[in-house]
Symmetry: C2
Subunit: 418 residues, 2 copies
C-alpha cells in the first residue's frame, strides 16, 4: 500500500493561514488586509483554527509492498532519534538515521498483518509521530497507530461492508450508587429491524476502561467484518467500565482532565468483588434498553487480563446468566486475592454449580511468554480436578493487544451457534 497522499499534503501546506495572517497584520493596514484576505479566501479556503500538517509533505508511516514500513521524522537539530513499537522484530526497537535534509528514517523489513503502536524518542523525549494523526490511548499513554494488511490487520480495518453503531451511554448502578458509563456496539441493521440479538459482554484489563476494546481492541471493525463474512452471528457487544472506583474513562468523569489514567490496581475498590457480584445490574439494564435475546444461551462474557479475572468470577457467581465464557490472558493469580471475600470464596463449588447448570463454551487463551502463563496453568488444574470442560489455546508472544484482538477473532465465531 503506497501512501497516495503526498500531493495532497503538499497542497495542504500552502494553506497554513494563521501564521501568515499574524505576520501580515503587523505590516499592513486593515483596508489592504481586507483586499488580500478576500483574494486568499477566494481560493476557497475556510481555514479553521489549526490547519496544515506540521511537517509539510513528509509521509510517515509509509507502508510498502510486503508490509515493509518506513517511519520518518523531521528533526534537523536532534542528536539521536529512535523508534519503539510493539512489533516482534528486534524487540520493536530501531535507531533512525538522518539524511541531508534533517529527516530521520527507519524501515522495518516486513510487519506481519496486524495493528501496531509506536512512538519516537528524540534526544530522550518520547513523542508521537507528528504526521500521523491516528492515535490510541493505552492506560495513560498515547501511541501512534498503523495497520498492515493481507491478514489479521484486514479485520481491524474499515471495509466496504455494513457498519454497526457504537454508543457511549450511562446506566444507573445500584451497587455503586452512581451512574456508570458503557460502550455498546449494535450490529448493522439493528436500527432497521425488530430482531432480538445475542449479547457479548466484553471486559477490559487493569488500567483500561470502556474505550479500550473499541480503540485498541478494534471491536467495531472486527464485528462488522466477521458479520459481513457470516463468520459470526450478528450480536450486541457491551463494554462496561470495570474499574470499581471510577464511573467512566479518564476525561469522562467529574474529575475531568485532573484524573490521569493509572493502573486499576492502584485505585481503591480493586478486587473487593462488588463489580463481579453486581454484574447482573448491567445485564438487566442491557436487556431492558436493547433488543436482546435475554437468555443464558444467548449471552457471553469475556475479558482480557483483569477482565478475564472478572469474567471468571462474574460467570461463576451467576451460573444462570452465561453459556459462553472467554478468559483472554486472564489475571488469575489467586495468591493476590483475598479468597475469603464473598465474590471469590468457595470457587470449586461455584464452578461445579456452573458446570451443572450447563455451559456451551469455556474458552481460555494465553501467550507462551505471558507473565500470567503459570497462574493459568494452576487454574486449569482446578478445572481438571472437577472435570470442568474447557477449550485452551496457546499463542506466541505475551500480554499484548495483538493477542487479545486475535483471541476475539477466534472466540466470537464460536458464540451463539445453535
Amino acid at each position: 500500500m503506497i501512501n497516495p497522499l503526498e500531493p495532497a499534503l503538499r497542497k495542504q501546506a500552502r494553506f497554513n493561514l494563521p501564521n501568515r495572517f499574524l505576520a501580515l497584520q503587523k505590516l499592513i493596514t486593515k483596508k489592504v488586509l481586507t483586499i488580500i484576505l478576500t483574494a486568499i479566501v477566494s481560493f476557497g479556503v475556510r481555514a479553521q483554527q489549526n490547519t496544515g500538517f506540521r511537517q509539510g509533505s513528509l509521509v510517515s508511516p509509509q507502508i510498502s509492498e510486503g508490509n515493509s514500513v518506513t517511519f520518518r521524522l523531521k528533526a534537523p537539530l536532534a542528536q539521536s532519534v529512535s523508534i519503539k513499537g510493539d512489533w516482534e522484530a528486534d524487540g520493536g526497537k530501531g535507531t533512525m538515521t538522518k539524511d541531508a535534509s534533517g529527516v530521520w528514517s527507519f524501515t522495518v523489513a516486513s510487519l506481519p498483518s496486524d495493528m501496531y503502536l509506536y512512538t519516537f524518542t528524540v534526544d530522550s523525549v518520547q513523542l508521537l509521530d507528528p504526521v500521523n494523526p491516528f492515535v490510541c490511548r493505552d492506560v495513560g499513554n498515547l501511541f501512534s497507530v498503523l495497520i498492515t494488511n493481507n491478514g489479521k490487520g484486514d479485520y481491524y480495518s474499515v471495509k466496504e461492508v455494513p457498519h454497526g453503531s457504537v454508543a457511549r451511554t450511562w446506566y444507573p448502578s445500584t451497587a455503586f450508587k452512581t451512574s456508570r458509563r458503557m460502550t455498546v456496539y449494535t450490529p448493522p441493521g439493528y436500527e432497521e429491524s425488530k430482531t432480538r440479538y445475542p449479547v457479548l459482554y466484553l471486559l477490559h484489563g487493569s488500567g483500561g476502561d470502556e474505550e479500550a476494546w473499541v480503540t485498541l481492541g478494534a471491536v467495531p471493525r472486527i464485528l462488522d467484518n466477521l458479520i459481513a463474512e457470516r463468520k459470526v452471528e450478528p450480536m450486541i457487544v457491551v463494554m462496561p467500565n470495570g474499574n470499581p472506583s471510577k464511573q467512566a474513562a479518564p476525561g469522562e468523569t467529574k474529575e475531568n482532565l485532573a484524573y490521569r489514567p493509572v493502573m486499576s490496581n492502584t485505585l481503591p475498590g480493586y478486587k473487593e468483588g462488588s463489580y463481579e457480584l453486581s454484574f447482573k445490574e448491567i445485564v438487566d439494564f442491557v436487556d431492558t434498553h436493547y433488543r436482546t435475546q435475554a437468555m443464558k444461551s444467548k449471552r457471553a462474557v469475556a475479558g482480557l487480563s483483569m477482565g478475564g479475572f472478572h469474567s471468571l468470577f462474574v460467570s461463576a457467581n451467576h451460573p444462570d446468566l452465561f453459556d459462553y465464557v472467554g478468559l483472554f490472558s486472564p489475571g488469575i493469580n489467586f495468591k493476590t486475592v483475598n479468597m475469603n471475600l464473598p465474590a471469590y470464596n468457595d470457587l470449586e463449588n461455584k464452578l461445579a454449580a456452573q458446570m451443572k447448570k450447563g455451559i456451551k463454551l469455556y474458552w481460555m487463551g494465553i501467550g507462551k511468554t505471558d507473565m500470567l502463563y503459570e497462574p493459568l496453568q494452576e487454574y486449569k488444574k482446578i478445572l481438571d480436578k472437577i472435570h470442568f470442560p474447557y477449550k485452551y489455546v496457546e499463542s506466541s508472544r505475551g500480554h499484548i493487544w495483538s493477542n487479545w484482538r486475535s483471541y476475539l477473532l477466534e472466540f466470537t465465531p464460536l458464540l451463539f451457534k445453535k
Copy 2:
C-alpha cells in the same frame, strides 16, 4: 485546582514492568523467573502492554489558583523548548526555561475559563505534552487539551449531572449512493422515556467531520450541563459528516489510516451543492430512527464556518424544515462559489420564501478579527434589503473554537421555546 495526582503517578512509575521483564529474562532461568514474577504479580499488578507514565512524576499542565497554568517538559538534552497554545495572551506563545534537572517549564499568569489546545516545540520538533493523555484532533493535527474553570470552561467539563448518550451511526444516502456516518447526542432520559424531542442539526467546518463538534465543540458536556440547569430544552443533536467526498471521519472510511485529514476544500465535491440539496434525507433518517418532534418548529440547523455556509443553504433550500438557523462565523464569501448552481442560485428569492414561511430565529455570530468578518457584513446587507429578521452577535477574537463553543452556549437556550 491543584492537580492531586503526583503521588499516584509516582506510585505508577514503579509498575513499568515490560522493560524490567525483558532485562530479567536474559539473566535468569525460567524457573527463577516464575518465582520472581509471582512475587511481582502478588503486588496486585496486572500489567498491560504499555503502562506507566513516560515522564515519572512530572505534572503538566498544572492549573493553580486564579487559573494560572504551568506547563512542564523533561528534555535535558534540548537546546530550546517553546509552547504554542490557542489562548490570547502573548499570542499563545511562550519560551520555556530549563531547571537543573532538565525540566523545562512555563507559566501563563491567568487563562480565562475555557478549553485550550497547545503543543510544545523542542529544537524545531512539534510534539504533544507527553504527560497529558488528553488530546483533540483538529483537521489533521493533534493537540494537548486543558480546561480552566470558573466560567465557560465549567460548561465544557463533566459535572455530576445526568449524562446523555453519544452514538456513532451510519445512514444510507441516496444522494451520495453510499452510507455516511453521523454522531448523535440524545439527552439524559431519552432511553427511559417515551418523550419525543426537538432536534438540532449541528454542522462542522472545512476539514472537520462528524467528530469535530463532540470533541473540540464539547457538545455532550455543554448539552448535559445546560439541560441540567434547565437553560435549554432537552434535545437531540445530530452531527452529520458534511464533507461531500468522504463517507466519514478520517480512520473511519475504507481508506483507513491512509487518508490523512485535509481541508475539505482540497477534496472533490466541495461546494457543488448536493449535500445542501439532499439534506432532507438526513432529516428523514433521524425522524425515522429517533423519537423526534418531526415538525418545523422543533428543528434547528446551525454550523460553523463551512457548516455556516451549509446551514444557510440547507435552510434556504428547505423553507419548510427549520424554524431556527444559526450561522457561526459562516464561510459565506459568495465570490468563491458558483452561484449559478441549483443549490446556490436565486438566493434572495429563496430567502424571501423562507421568511414568508416563517422563521423563529436566524442567529449569526462572528469574531471581530475573523477573516470572514467582511463577507458576513455583505450578507447582512442582503438580509436587510429584503427585511429578513435576524439576530447578530459580535465577539472578540477570530475564527476559533473558543468562539464556536461560546456561540453554542448562547444559541441553544434560544431554541424550541414555546
